[in-house]
Amino acid sequence: MMQSIRAGTQNTGFKILIFLIILSFAGFGLEQVIFGSSGTSVAEVNGTEITPQELQVAIEGQKRQLMQIFGDNIDPEMLDDDRIRPRALEELIERTLLLQAATENAMVASSRAIGEIVGSIDVFKVDGAFDADQYKVVLANAGYTPERFRREQTQQIILSQLQQGVLASDFVTTAELVAAAEATAEERDVRYLIVTDEALRSSAEVSADSVRQVYDRDPSLWTSDATVIADYILISRDDFLAPVDQVALQEQFDSIQDEYTVAEQTLIAHILLIQGDDESVEAYTRRVDDAASRIAADEDFADLAAELSDDVGSAALGGELGFTDGTVFPEAMESAVNSLAVGEVSAGVKTDAGTHFIRILERVAGETPDYEQLKNELEKSMQEAEADQTLLVTVDELRELSFNAADLQQPGGALSLSVSQSSPVSLTSGDGVFSERAVREVLFSDEVYLEGNNSAIVELSGNRFVVVRVAEKRAAEILPFSEVAKTIRADLEQSAELAAKLALLESLRSRRNEGERLEEIATAEGYEWRVELGARRVGSLLPAEVVTLAFSMQYGMDAELESTQLVNGDLAIVELAGVEPGQLENLSLGEKGAMSAQLIQLQGQLSMLEYRTALRDNAEIITR
């Protein structure tokens, strides 16, 4: 055996084969090696695997569609993965089948067509032009490789080509239009009489006695819901609000007080005169006096500052130094600032720097908080924080104790919590905390209602927690007559009305069968009588209910009268007097156009539907 294989390898043809195998491996896509058969596909369509990732993408796609259709009001249940999965998988299988059919027919998308699509997508553009870097970045962010994106675009193109090739090339022939017109434009002669709602009701009077009789015959038919008297412990944060430690409150208050206090701010300007190194005291004093007198003469302070001030930094700004809250400048200056009103200028103030003349430009009043209010708010938030702590600890303890306890009194007593008792609660209604559905559902759960245990702790909105227990079960009760008389009367009236209708229809039918004409009966009995000849399905003046009935009625000698209730409650009793097949030439040009467009569309849809069904029937599909 080995020998023959070794001999075989000497053969030139065999060597060609080996080389081709090697080549084919060399050309094998890396992607296939990495992403290929992971062996965990969710379905297999003619050997093509559908991966869980593809399915997830399809599910997300369907979710987006649903959200677009229903907006924010969507029922979250509709977005449940498990609910969407089967439909998403169906869609993927169908898509795979169509792609296989397209591939079998050697359908391709050209690089040009793909390029055109890629080039037309706005998110790939920078300043209105396609940008290769942007393209890669956007794709990467969306979790796509360019390879995969192109593949999907290719698929999209050939799927729509297939659709267009099969569906959009359909037509409708004249013979088919004629056949369709026979049915859709059929003309029927309709005659009917009207029995008013009032007339019907007056013939269906229900006496008080008969209502009572129905109740007395079997009162147990009318029962209330089963109810429960429940024990419960309801705790909320408010139960644990305790006075706070005044010392702690004060400390806290002091530490935050400053944050809320804004001191008075004063905007000042100055003219600073500095004694020069080689300036005599006399010369300096003269300079100071000169400045003082020019200020007193009301010369413009800013101009003077520019001219006289030795503080180069501020001189150009009219001497302006900025705002002070009383702590920025040397003591001597600040006390001068303090004593001046806005617009006033100080006498010369001596500091280490020299002599200052200070002018007050602007004063912004400080803000002091309402200490009382601030303190109250602080106290409340401290109280609540402490109460939350206590609440959570208590809830934990209660959970522990009530789980093991045979009633609520014991854990309630241990934790000094009061046990309350409810008014009767049914599954559908209750008072107080039992007005919340979540609490009622817990109360009527097997664990609590049947086995009689304490419930788990239920958390409610507003930092409330409740634990419930059945104290007393009250079986369903027979309701007193007074409470149900109205319902019984309504039921009786309804059935009496129905009986009256049937009786009327029956009598009209038999009178007509005995040879009376319906019109004569209507006139004799005072019913309204109406006729429409050659009525069509669409565009007649008949009430919609009468059209629906008339076009579903049998026609012929022994055709019976039929009745239908109109939207206003009146009863129409209808006789079909004639049927003529529709004529294509009787249709208007617009009607003809609409009909042929509709027929082409239906025909195309039908072809596509059966095309897909056929692909499916001939495919081998495995779902896992």
Binding site: Q161, G165, V166
Partner: protein, 221 residues
């Protein structure tokens, strides 16, 4: 077994193997490379052809969408080119189907028939597409008055399109006044559609209409 050989012996064996097989190995490599390159070139050429055909069909789709008289002329010209230059592609068959639809719209049933027959000749008659072309051919023949051939085609179908085939038969029976048979065909079609979970569309109207007329004609006869 190489374990038993010393290095020298191995080299010696290799040399001997090369002397014996070197030429044929080289020949095999050259042949394989030449074959592969040739095949790739052929593939390149044919995929280029396929892309051209695909683009031409794309242009037809665009022209169909705008739908005015001039674009109908464009469709005709492009579809003709597809049929002439890429006659073996599926796009050429699509083009013929499109030309047939245009011909029916204009009342030129002979042209429609010849387009459909052209497409059918290029397609496996039993494939999904082939059966669809047969359906359309039967409908065109029926409109020409050749209901016998039409019914023959529809009755010998392979069954990929049961509802569409039955509907077409129903329409033919109606045109011949064979209402009872039409009713049966329409009912068949309706049953198929309902089984597929689809609304029966216009079939219900056709069925009730024929039912009531059949009832009245039984009375009068």
């Amino acid at each position: 077994m190489a374990d038993h050989l010393e290095d020298d012996e191995q080299v010696e064996a290799l040399k001997r193997w090369w002397d014996e097989n070197g030429k044929s190995t080289m020949a095999a490599v050259v042949l394989a490379v030449a074959g592969t390159v040739g095949w790739q070139q052929y593939q390149g050429w044919s995929s280029q052809q396929a892309e051209l055909a695909s683009d031409t069909w794309g242009a037809i789709e665009v022209a169909l969408q705008s739908g005015d008289d001039r674009s109908t002329e464009d469709v005709r010209a492009l579809a003709g080119a597809l049929k002439d230059d890429f006659s073996r592609t599926v796009y050429a068959r699509f083009a013929a189907l499109q030309l047939a639809a245009l011909a029916v719209e204009e009342g030129n049933l002979d042209a429609a028939e010849s387009e459909l027959r052209w497409a059918l000749a290029k397609e496996d008659a039993n494939s999904e597409l082939g059966q669809l072309i047969q359906l359309r051919l039967a409908r065109v023949l029926a409109d020409k008055g050749d209901t016998a051939t039409a019914l023959e085609i529809l009755n010998s179908g392979m069954g990929a399109y049961p509802a569409a085939y039955a509907t077409a038969k129903g329409d033919i029976y109606v045109s011949e006044g064979r209402h009872a048979e039409a009713l049966g065909a329409y009912r068949d079609a309706r049953a198929v559609l309902l089984a597929l979970g689809n609304p029966p569309g216009i079939l219900d109207t056709k069925i009730t209409s024929i039912e009531s007329r059949l009832a009245s004609s039984e009375e009068s006869s």
